[in-house]
Amino acid sequence: MTPNGYPAPPSIDWLMTMPALLVAGVGIVALMVEMFWPRRSNSAIIFLSLIGLAVAGYFTAIQFGMPDGETFARMIVRDRLGLVLQLLLIGIAFISILFSEGYLREKRIPFGEFYPLLLWATSGGMVMIATKSLLIQFIGLEILSIALYVMAGMSRNEAKSEESAIKYFLLGAFASSFFLYGIAFVYGATGGLHLDLIAEAWKADDPSMRNLLLFGFGLILIGLSFKSAFVPFHQWTPDVYQGAPTNVTAFMAAGSKVAAIGALFRVLEASGVMQEFWMPALFWIAIFTMTLGNLVACTQRDVKRTLGYSSIANAGYLLVALLAHFKSPDKVGLQATIFYLVAYSLMTLGAFAVVSLAAKGGKEGTRFHDLAGLYRRAPVAAGLLVVFVASLIGIPPTAGFFGKYFIFLDALQADLAPLAIVLAVNSAISIYYYLGIVRAAFVAEDSPVRPAMSGPVTFGNSLATAICAVGVLGISFVTAPVFEFLAGR
């Protein structure tokens, strides 16, 4: 108590929230640059953004090894998972910015606003991960989502971009309402917003409270399932991915997924007491998500749409990894999940970066036949596309192979053999459409009537794809140290 009777202000560890604040702050500064020198200084904005991300990454990295804890009245949390995923998000934003410049210029939407929006979306995702408070999680989710709504509609002279933004906004609002409603129920049952209260309230063994809790938890699960693109809350994914500018799609596929899976982990971890209820439900959701994502992907003729369905299927794989961990936390750590998140982010970003080369002169063709002849126009990029697709399929020695392999092992260890089998079968199915992408890039141009488009390969794009390719190939040679690091040993 302070002398005047108010409670003492909580002591705050600013370092814990520094990365997210930095990213958001740099976004604001970047926006000011855009305001004062409109349409002039995109390179200044990009430079600023990259520096800001690097500094934020530094402040995240130095926190490894510091004790876990919470600050801001238990609204911000620091633990290994949170730090790793925040770092991953920063990396995703970094790579997205690298290849955005050339793409936006070719697409004739060189708005400086893009970069601040991307930074804010990143900071939203980081907040989602770095908290155990439901309300903060919701705020993070909204920061992430609203920025993405705007970015999805950035290509204003394209109807499908507008459509993408509107669809995403409407359905996202719908999902957010589930989430918020769920928080209200949980608050009602626990009297607080912190996730740890769920277990306490559950153990109080009051039937009506339990009903309330479970109902609230279910609603929250729906909200996060939407963001993670689990079936049957997935239908926005292909439409939005297809319509949004490709660099936005890339960030959405990687960054948004990382944030959603991170938040989902927090919620499921806190709700371990209710496992007997949600485990069967999520078991079937995982099966449907993997299977439906892959099956429908086979029928697609558009690269971005295909990758959209692929991201649904990958969400299913990630869910399997999470379930294996929660089924037997003693035997199965969280390493496979994080490893696959990293692998998935790298290969998806890389693939989208290559696909973004199809933009030229304000137009962009992303159907398979638009890729035709890419190997002649941009042989290196086409070669790297093969690497990314090989990783998505899961061919050794790529990160995708090891990621899937570890998930497979985890599922078997945790007595989730059916999920392991469905995962393996789905991997086999996925070869078909992934190879379709490669084949499209490597067939010769056979239709002179409709010349395939392709812009120049910028330095930023080369750098982005190179980072992704090195990561995809390199990480598979250091899986053991990476796992040790993730396990905190």
Partner: protein
């Protein structure tokens, strides 16, 4: 010098390989063609020569030890560790491996030296020596490795180098096809060798508890296999025979024995130094080496040994007969190599393993000499290889002629020269031994008589080759018929060849575009040297080529006597005799047969018969007009139809099989696959129909999903009992 120097012996050729591969083009571009090639040639010969010097010192070291201590195993590191199998990277130093090292590096260095002259005009000079050095390194791994896995690395490595060198002038489709043939036929041998290896591992690992010296799971190492094989297989002659025969299949492939010999004659498409080094002196003797290395397994199985002796005898006879019909000088030597390899297998089959190795050694001397001599002739005769265009070359090529004449006398079995001693040892073992028996029939004995007959044939066809080339007075190239310009050991007509074939890869523009083909042809025609024609005057070859000839001639002349004298070679390789067989069953000298007299008689008979026919040069009925040939010779030219039949059978039969499989594949397998694919696609289409594109539909599905999820929670809660202790 410590035995660790053995790593240098392997390492130097490997280093040479890297130098040639990485620096070759650079050096030649930098120093110009002449000095660059001189430098690279030196860098190619030096590692082999140094390796030979080290090998010789190690051999001297080893020889100074008591006989029962001449065995060292050096381990570099553990290469493969599995749960129940460990394969170290280890070498064995013993008389057998060092003998091979001396042959490989000694003959190898001479042939490298020769090749610096022979290949001097080739623009792919460094590529040639790159392969050749790699070959030496692989061959050394093959003979020095202390386990079958390392042997297999070397085995495949030399196979690869052989393939690359046969197809060295790859732009000629015929060469590329010959390389393919060698590679493919050798796969059959590898099939046997690998199965034999696996069976050995199974037998050893299955009895791992009761082994001596097997504690560390090195199931493929000789020092584990050999001591234990006797105890394990003594009462299992069936398994011993199976393993021995499978390994012999491998040996047949590499050492060109019937029925797998047919790649070796085609392998003569490679440059002549390659034929001398790989396809006569070293690689093709790997099978004999392998049988020596694993002789315990063959000692355990008289049946397998009898088969080895029979296959050897038949091959020797068959190839000697075929040699009579050949007109290409290198083909004659190729069949003679096949035939001599048959002799080595007769020895191994009869239990005279040391005699087999002895013949490997002397054969390396005189066959390398003959091949290099033939190369000198080909070089002097504008790369024409047809015997019918030669004659009276002793006048122009005295050094080549007389060194090669020594080689000829050695292979013919004239007493005192090296071939006589080793052939004598082989025939002696075969005729005296009682070991190689099958069902009471002394097959080894039969093989011995066949061998004696073949010795006479050898003397005769070698006389034919020598007289047609060097003697006879008539200079045949002065009157070549117009249609006779083929048989080239050269690369001047490759593009045209490919076009003649009509279905070469180049025609489809697969490897080269039309312009590139034209450009390549122009470039090659530019450096094209003149055809053999009536005005041609052969010139003696440069010193880099005749020095090796002289060295090898000296070895052919005296090597046999030196090694044979006092049983030196036998006591060096097998100081304590064989592991199992008593001296009574394997002996070198038959008591009831006057072998020395008979074999001298056979050699002289062959020589005189040959001289009688060919002393005046090319007889009219062996000339360019094949219609005048007698039927035997015509058949011999085409290997009595065997090669054709095999290739046809493989081609047609393989084609028919493939078509059958294709029908099965396209009908049944594809049917299933397409059905699965169709099902997948159908399901995908079905789910896709849910993707209407309307936000209201998406929201509805979300709502239904949410209701489903919450409904499940409600149901589960009620089932457990809301107040229950969940």
């Amino acid at each position: 010098m410590g035995y660790g120097a053995i790593w240098l012996v392997i390492g130097l050729p490997l280093l040479g390989f890297l130098v040639q591969a990485l620096l070759g083009k650079f050096v030649i571009d930098r120093l110009g063609a002449k000095r660059g090639k001189w430098t690279m040639g030196l860098l190619a010969v030096a590692p082999i020569a140094i390796a030979f010097a080290i090998g010789a010192m190690l051999t001297a070291n080893l020889a100074s030890l008591p006989a029962d201590q001449r065995h060292f195993v050096l381990t570099l590191y553990i290469w493969i560790t599995l749960q129940s199998l460990s394969i170290p990277f280890e070498v064995v130093i013993d008389p057998l491996s060092l003998t091979m090292v001396l042959i490989i590096t000694g003959i190898g260095a001479l042939i490298h030296l020769y090749a610096t002259g022979y290949m001097a005009e080739d623009k792919d000079y460094p590529r040639f020596f790159c392969y050749l050095n790699l070959f030496i390194a692989c061959m050394l791994v093959l003979v020095l490795g202390n386990n079958l896995a390392l042997l297999f690395i070397g085995w495949e490595g030399v196979g690869l180098c052989s393939y690359l060198l046969i197809g060295f002038w790859y732009k000629d489709l015929a060469n590329a096809k010959a390389a393919n043939k060698a590679f493919i036929v050798n796969r059959i041998g590898d099939w046997g060798l690998t199965l034999g290896m696996f069976m050995l591992v199974c037998v050893l690992a299955g009895a791992s508890g009761s082994l001596t010296n097997g504690g560390d799971n090195r199931w493929l190492s000789y020092d584990v296999i050999l001591p234990n094989a006797i105890a394990l297989l003594k009462d299992n002659p069936g398994i011993a025979t199976a393993i021995a025969l499978l390994i012999f299949v491998g040996a047949c492939g590499k050492s060109a024995q019937f029925p797998l010999y047919l790649w070796l004659p085609d392998a003569m498409a490679g440059p002549t130094p390659v034929s001398a080094l790989i396809h006569a002196a070293t690689m093709v003797t790997a099978g004999v080496f392998l049988l020596n290395r694993l002789h315990v397994l063959f000692e355990l199985s008289p049946v397998a040994s009898a088969i080895v002796a029979c296959v050897g005898a038949f091959t020797a006879l068959f190839a000697a007969l075929v040699a009579f019909g050949q007109t290409d000088i290198k083909k004659v030597l190729a069949y003679s190599t096949v035939s001599q390899l048959g002799f080595m297998f007769i020895a191994c089959g009869a239990g005279g393993y040391w005699a087999g190795m002895f013949h490997v050694t002397t054969h390396a001397f005189f066959k390398a000499l003959l091949f290099l001599g033939s190369g000198a002739v080909i070089y002097a005769m504008a790369h024409n290889q047809d015997l019918r265009n030669y004659g009276n070359l002793k006048k122009y090529l005295p050094i080549t002629c007389w060194t090669m004449f020594i080689g000829f006398l050695a292979i013919a079995g004239i007493p005192g020269l090296s071939g006589f001693f080793s052939k004598e040892a082989i025939l002696g073992h075969a005729l005296a031994g009682t070991f190689a028996e099958w069902d009471g029939i002394r097959l080894g004995y039969v093989a011995g008589w066949v061998g004696l007959f073949v010795a006479a044939l050898t003397a005769m066809y070698m006389t034919r080759m020598t007289w047609l080339t060097f003697f006879g007075g008539k200079e045949q190239w002065r009157s070549i018929p117009a249609a006779a310009h083929d048989h080239h050991d050269d690369h001047s007509h490759h593009a045209q060849h490919a076009e003649h074939e009509g279905h070469g890869p180049d025609v489809h523009g697969f490897f080269y575009t039309e312009e590139e083909i034209t450009r390549n042809r122009d470039m090659e025609d530019h450096g094209h040297h003149h055809e053999l024609d009536a005005s041609h005057t052969p010139k003696e070859v440069p010193p880099s080529m005749w020095i090796p000839l002289v060295a090898l001639a000296v070895l052919s002349l005296g090597g046999g006597f030196l090694l044979y004298n006092g049983g030196l070679f036998e006591k060096w390789l097998y100081p304590t005799g064989l592991a199992l067989l008593p001296p009574g069953q394997v002996q070198a000298h038959p008591h009831d047969i006057p072998l020395v007299g008979l074999s001298i008689g056979a050699a002289l008979l062959g020589l005189l018969a040959g001289y009688a026919v060919y002393r005046k040069g090319l007889p009219g009925k062996e000339g360019w007009d094949m219609a005048k040939w007698n039927p035997f010779r015509r058949e011999a030219l085409v290997q009595f139809g065997y090669d054709h039949a095999m290739v046809e059978a493989a081609d047609e039969g393989g084609g028919a099989l493939a078509r059958g499989l294709w029908r099965f594949d396209s009908g049944v397998i594809d049917g299933i696959v397409n059905a699965v694919g169709g099902l997948t696609k159908g399901l995908g289409d079905l789910f896709r129909m849910l993707q209407t594109g309307y936000v209201r539909a998406y929201a509805l599905l979300m709502l239904l999903g949410g209701i489903g999820l919450l409904g499940w929670f409600l149901y589960a809660m009620n089932r457990v009992g809301a107040g229950g202790h969940g």
